[in-house]
């Protein structure tokens, strides 16, 4: 496929974008199905309890989903540091570093099921799509508050009577938990249904608001709130899968920035921590100055910007 979408006719360019998006959505869907493929759970409203639950999945995929075959890294992190034995989790930081060093936020663009849900909702036609919310820069900083407050500090210091820390991100905020575990279990499991109360109502309301916003604004949760995306963002620059920009091949037309759903200054920051690796900029570049490099791939140019 010719990745240089803007070098051909507008129709050819649109078809290139469509093909890439389709490939990405199929990959996201395949990962979502594979990581939640435990059929008995879907039939009975229970959860899988085999060896897969020792391991973390890369994306924000709830371990209480009836079909979940692995553990959610954020839920697992809160469980370990909230336990009475540990205040830090080498195991989960190790997992996150392993996945981050391999793929960075390719996890967000190509694997995470909650990213897929937001992507699909954004395809719904709306009268006015927004590029950003007012105060975008400040809103993006909320991810730090969520990471520090809900994921790290609350499980360490907000203790229940038996000394267990609160997994505050799971409890108060995580929309993936509500969507992939709360809603299916409320439907499938009678005991769960009978225990539902105001907390479930709050999480469901928050989830519905986010899903509604995702129709108008590209990936609101990933932009403003997700601590997992924030963590993987640190790795974008150093991951095995990363982008390069070759200034000598660049026309400075900024087609890449125009195509970016997150309005990143792609030429200056091809490996921005905010980049979710959707790849639209790669397709939009008319001269192929932006590329994905893979491990072992031959560098085609000496002078490259990797910042």
């Amino acid at each position: 496929m010719d990745r240089r979408a803007t070098s051909g006719s507008p129709a050819a360019a649109a078809s290139c974008f469509k093909k890439r998006e389709k490939r990405r959505n199929i990959t996201q869907g395949a990962f979502a199905c594979l990581s939640n493929a435990w059929l008995p759970g879907w039939l009975s409203g229970g959860t899988y309890s085999g060896a897969g639950k020792y391991f973390c999945v890369p994306g924000l995929s709830c371990y209480s989903c009836p079909g979940a075959l692995g553990a959610c890294p954020l839920g697992a992190f809160q469980a370990v540091i909230g336990s009475r034995q540990f205040q830090f989790s080498f195991y989960i930081i190790g997992w996150l570093s392993l996945i981050g060093a391999a793929a960075g936020r390719y996890v967000c663009g190509w694997i995470c099921p909650f990213g897929l849900v937001q992507d699909l909702l954004n395809k719904i036609p709306a009268i006015k799509k927004m590029r950003a919310l007012p105060g975008e820069k400040w809103l993006r900083r909320l991810r730090w508050v969520v990471l520090a407050g809900l994921v790290c500090l609350a499980p360490l210091f907000l203790l229940d009577p038996i000394g267990q820390g609160q997994p505050a991100f799971c409890k108060w905020l995580c929309p993936s938990g509500a969507l992939m575990a709360g809603w299916p279990l409320a439907l499938l499991n009678q005991a769960v249904r009978q225990a539902l109360g105001w907390l479930f109502a709050w999480k469901s309301g928050f989830l519905i608001t986010l899903l509604g916003l995702a129709i108008f604004l590209y990936r609101p949760f990933c932009r403003y709130l997700c601590p997992l995306g924030l963590i993987y963002g640190f790795f974008n620059r150093y991951a095995l899968l990363r982008h390069v920009h070759a200034p000598e091949e660049c026309r400075a037309c900024d087609a890449c920035q125009a195509a970016c759903p997150l309005s990143i200054a792609v030429r200056q920051k091809p490996n921005s921590p905010d980049c979710i690796r959707c790849g639209r900029c790669l397709t939009a570049c008319p001269t192929n100055a932006l590329k994905l490099i893979r491990p072992g791939a031959q560098m085609v140019s000496r002078r490259r910007s990797t910042d």
Binding site: G46, T47, K53, Y54, C56, C62, Y63, S64, A68, G70, A71, C72, G75, A76, A79, V80, Q85, F86, S89, F90, Y91, I92, I93, G94, W95, S97, L98, G100, A101, A102, Q166, P167, C170, K171, C174, G177, A178, A181, G182, L185, A186, N189, V192, L196, G197, L199, F200, A201, W202, S204, R237, Y238, A239, L240, R242, M299, R302, R303, R304, T306
Partner: protein
């Protein structure tokens, strides 16, 4: 391969090494068992009950 790319790849390799060591420490300390135990049960906080 330019110097800068080589440096970036060295950081990548270092990150993999650190990740491997951390995983090993985590498993030996028994963290993996806590993850397993938590992930096997329905988490009340995740679903919005607890």
């Amino acid at each position: 391969m330019g110097n800068r790319d080589q440096k970036t790849y060295s950081v990548t390799i270092l990150l993999f090494a650190v990740a491997a060591v951390m995983l090993l420490i985590g498993v030996t300390r028994g963290e993996a068992l806590i993850v397993f135990t938590k992930a096997c049960r329905i988490c009340l906080e995740c679903i919005g009950i607890g």
